[in-house]
């Protein structure tokens, strides 16, 4: 099964990105083959709807779980609509989170925030 993690850099020891929709990359880790790959997040510079576009990238990657510190409402709607499970990442790098996930130490992400839209005076 593939899992996805928003990351700042293209390496297993990268930080987990503080933002899902605006992270630089997604680490896609295959729990069966132990292989990892990185996808660029094309939503990072979107003026709006970044979470939706980022979530579409995850849906298309075939990942079935996302490990993230937080997730906005719109992104969560897309991910959950595709049957993707959301887990709350813990402190530590991406690899440590993969281990925590494998050991079933991560809890389900149930706080979905309403988004960080409209920073800077309602740019729409």
């Amino acid at each position: 099964m593939k899992i996805a993690i928003p990351v700042d850099n293209k390496s297993l020891d990268s930080n987990v990105s503080a933002s899902f929709g605006r992270s630089s990359y997604f680490l896609i880790y295959d729990t069966a083959s132990k292989e990892s790959s990185f996808i660029e997040n094309t939503a990072v510079h979107s003026s709006g709807g970044a979470g939706i576009k980022a979530a579409q990238t995850i849906v298309d990657s075939g990942a079935k779980a996302v490990l993230t510190p937080r997730c906005g409402q719109n992104a969560a709607e897309v991910l959950k609509g595709a049957g993707i499970e959301l887990y709350k990442s813990v402190s530590g790098n991406a690899e440590e989170n993969i281990t925590a996930y494998a050991d079933k130490k991560l809890s389900v992400l149930d706080e979905i925030h309403s988004g960080f839209h409209r920073h800077g005076g309602g740019g729409r």
């Binding site: 709006g48 579409q56 849906v59 897309v78 609509g81 409209r118 005076g121 309602g122 740019g123």
Partner: protein
């Protein structure tokens, strides 16, 4: 003649200036484009109000016709669409451009009207008062302001446009047809920062403009005035930091009606603007 009144922050005095200028002008209209918190009506107290609802078009998809080709998802620059095992439409992200409807090869979209707010038109001592009111929670006031600007088209005489604060899309929409822009600023360093935002905006739009500095203390430092001098910005008027004016304003009174000194100040400001517009 359309005169837009804008400032980089809220509470600088846009409504004070635009309401009093509208009152000082003999025939005029006042348009409140600050659609998230329109308050000019509290001062002008318009009567015989006619209200109309403003809607935008939102796409809805017939899932039986959608084959998941995702052309619409790829087309939508606003990221308002996603495809999982079915198409998802995010109303709040949609900018009502209609592009998805056009690119869909299966004609799976229809559009429905979504109410985003209303426009009230009334009159107050000969001033036509037009107020845009955005529904709470609506993400964008732009379509509503666009409707307000259409109404401004048919108006004659002086039309004062009370803009939203800041320099974002809603402000651009409010000033796009203006013949002249008044930048209202406070005489502080923070005021200078906000003044610079709208100063950049009006230059980008190639609009003639001048500044009004509000809440000025005599003998005190005035960084906004210094900024104006340094950048060759005409200071049209300096309004004093005056408790009497503050009290009139907090009681939703119009200074021009209540105080001779302020009537004189706003009549002169109006004259000054008329000359500036002629020159521009």
């Amino acid at each position: 003649m359309k005169i837009a009144v804008l400032s980089g922050k809220g509470g600088a005095g846009k409504t004070l200036v635009s309401v009093n200028l509208a009152t000082a002008a003999n025939t005029s209209a006042y348009i409140d484009c600050d659609v998230e918190e329109p308050n000019g009506r509290l001062f002008l107290k318009p009567e015989r109000i006619v209200e109309e609802e403003i809607t935008v078009k939102i796409p809805q998809v017939d899932t039986d016709l959608c084959d998941g080709c995702r052309r619409c998802v790829d087309f939508c620059i606003f990221n308002a669409l996603a495809f999982t095992n079915r198409l998802l439409v995010f109303d709040d992200i949609c900018h009502s451009c209609g592009g998805c409807v056009l690119v869909c090869p299966n004609k799976a979209f229809t559009e429905r009207d979504k109410a985003i707010g209303r426009i009230q038109t009334g009159s107050s001592n000969g001033i036509e008062v037009i107020t845009g009111i955005l529904n709470t929670g609506e993400p964008s006031g732009v379509p509503l302001i666009n409707e307000l600007m259409k109404k401004a088209e048919r108006l004659e005489g002086y039309v004062f446009i009370d803009c939203p604060p800041g320099s974002a899309c809603t402000v651009m929409e409010s000033i796009k047809d203006a013949d002249y822009c008044i930048l209202v600023a406070e005489p502080t360093l923070f005021g200078v920062h906000n003044l610079n935002m709208v100063y950049e905006l009006v230059r980008l739009f190639n609009k003639p403009f001048g500044a009004v500095i509000n809440k000025c203390l005599e003998g005190e430092e005035n960084p906004a005035e210094t900024f104006c001098r340094g950048n060759g910005i005409e200071v049209l008027c300096s309004i004093p930091f005056d408790s009497e004016l503050g009290e009139l304003n907090s009681n939703a009174e119009i200074a021009v009606y209540k105080d001779k000194k302020y009537r004189g100040m706003f009549v002169s400001l109006l004259e000054r603007i008329k000359q500036e517009v002629k020159r521009a």
